[in-house]
Symmetry: C2
Subunit: 371 residues, 2 copies
Amino acid sequence: MMMIENILRVGREDPTKLIHALKVGMALTLASMLYLVGPLYSGIGENAVWGVITVVVVFEATVGATLSKGVNRLIGTLCAGSLAFLLICVVDKSGRTSSAIFIGIVVFLTGTAATYLRFIPHIKKTYDYSFVVFLITFNLLAASSFRTNHVIEVTLERICTVAIGCGICLVMTLVFPDWSGSEFHNSTASKLDFLAESIDACVNKYFEDSENIEESSDDVDHIQRVYESILDSKATDDTLALHASWEPMHSTYRYKYPWEEYVRLGSVLRQFGFTVVALHACLQSQDQTPRAFPDSLKDSSTRFVKEISGTLKELADSIRDKRLLAPTLVSGHHGALKDLDDAVKSQPQSLKISEAFMALLVGMAAKLDKV
Amino acid sequence: MMMIENILRVGREDPTKLIHALKVGMALTLASMLYLVGPLYSGIGENAVWGVITVVVVFEATVGATLSKGVNRLIGTLCAGSLAFLLICVVDKSGRTSSAIFIGIVVFLTGTAATYLRFIPHIKKTYDYSFVVFLITFNLLAASSFRTNHVIEVTLERICTVAIGCGICLVMTLVFPDWSGSEFHNSTASKLDFLAESIDACVNKYFEDSENIEESSDDVDHIQRVYESILDSKATDDTLALHASWEPMHSTYRYKYPWEEYVRLGSVLRQFGFTVVALHACLQSQDQTPRAFPDSLKDSSTRFVKEISGTLKELADSIRDKRLLAPTLVSGHHGALKDLDDAVKSQPQSLKISEAFMALLVGMAAKLDKV
């Protein structure tokens, strides 16, 4: 029962996943036609295998991811095909045993070289999959060149079927498309919202009277969200950005998502998140010590934080609506910052961490202007 | 030239990568023997393809990763084989066109179901690769069942070659083995060291006289390291833990790495890292305001931080030497903590964030006892 509940929840929370599953089923059926429809099969024969494999491996959840894998697959197959062609020219001229030894050595060398190159960070990031495909295809062609005489035809047919497989994926991914760019866009906007909420929650908690502590579970919830959605988001962000970089301008919006900006914004938000976590830790340790704040400090802190979270929410909305933010809105917090600064200076015993906060916020404000 | 420099650097920094590349080359050559050696080829035939593919795809840099992929590949192949067998029994009894339609529908349904199931978090984490292999193998068997009559033999041969491929990977990965557990172990120890260094650097900077600012680039370096090695380490840690969980007790050490503890320690260290980043932000904002600390506060803060970083370094060494840490060492900072606490209380204007720091440290001390 738990299992079924889990299974159903995935589709309920995000119907695009169900749509994606249906699209994959459809693409696989199309690829199987290479086998099932007589005229197609007689043209391609056993190489139809590669069409099916390509669809399974290349078809990813978003357009950008599919494109990037498809192009990698084509590059890998083409390189392997060319190199195998050269190898065959040499093997053709030598004897049986010597060519077996020669193939063995070449397989060893290319295998070592390609695996080593995959460790180079730049290649790993963008072309890793090309190398995997290259190794598979090259080894198969090299080894089978020893057993069959028509390797060149096989190579050409294989490139064709891989191209057909990629074509099927490309067409199917553009039916009800799911863009990495738009996923990145939405996640950036909701990160801003979470951040605003949790800053509010932290500071309100800090200044509130100690009698209403029953809210603390809600507070932990906010902090948890910050962790999950912001601090650990680097890997996800990088992947989304990489895939978004493959997506051309969207036809519906006539608009390319500024994913480079989102990456930069994401790292600023992570910095912001660190401060929230530190604030929260302050909060927990303060719980034991008696607190007494002058009203002036409390008021200016609260006003300052309201401005910050207001600006963040405003920014989230502006990202969602894809409009430019008016500079006046962004600079609203500068006045509040000055008030708080005065209050802090007039009163040494204070929420010292606000200074770190301010520094981050000023940095943030500079970023906002760029978006 | 830049390119060649880059290529050489990877091997110089980490010779295990070069060794891994040579191992892959060796494994591929062994797999190619299925083609090149006459008696082997006559037994297996065209299915030798799958041995080569398995080696390329399954052979990963560490033992745990290779084992996990190999087992996944076998599970996927076995499930696909069984299901294909059932399908063939049905198809055998129906006519030509109707069986083509039937295969098409089955391919669509399994493709959709398997893709949908891959989205479930638990399955995605552990069995994602099984599903990919299942889809490829099942579709190929189902589609080719329409064209050849000896699908059952093909299925059995395919399972055999996949098993041979996995066997080659397993043997080669155990030659000069590279354990995920030991990588996790080393990265945990060096994270502790980095953390200790950067805490030292931050606090020394905070209390030092403003004339020696030329050290700041070194400081930024420390903070940068904290970022790279600690804060963004969650994804890497999770992968290492997953792979380490596949590794049985090591024969050399008679010792299983306590990777669950490392995961927990990693998340505590990340919390610690947030505090360091917040401390650093404090530092930057403080640069503009005049500073005047009483010596008593400076001394006790410095002593406190020395104790903390000393404990962290001690812990790093104890992890490296695989020995238990004496509880007296860990509790050394409690005395210093009390001193600092007194100093802070007697002097309201203070490095307020230390409180967050203490809270984290006390939490940390609790964790240390478990390691």
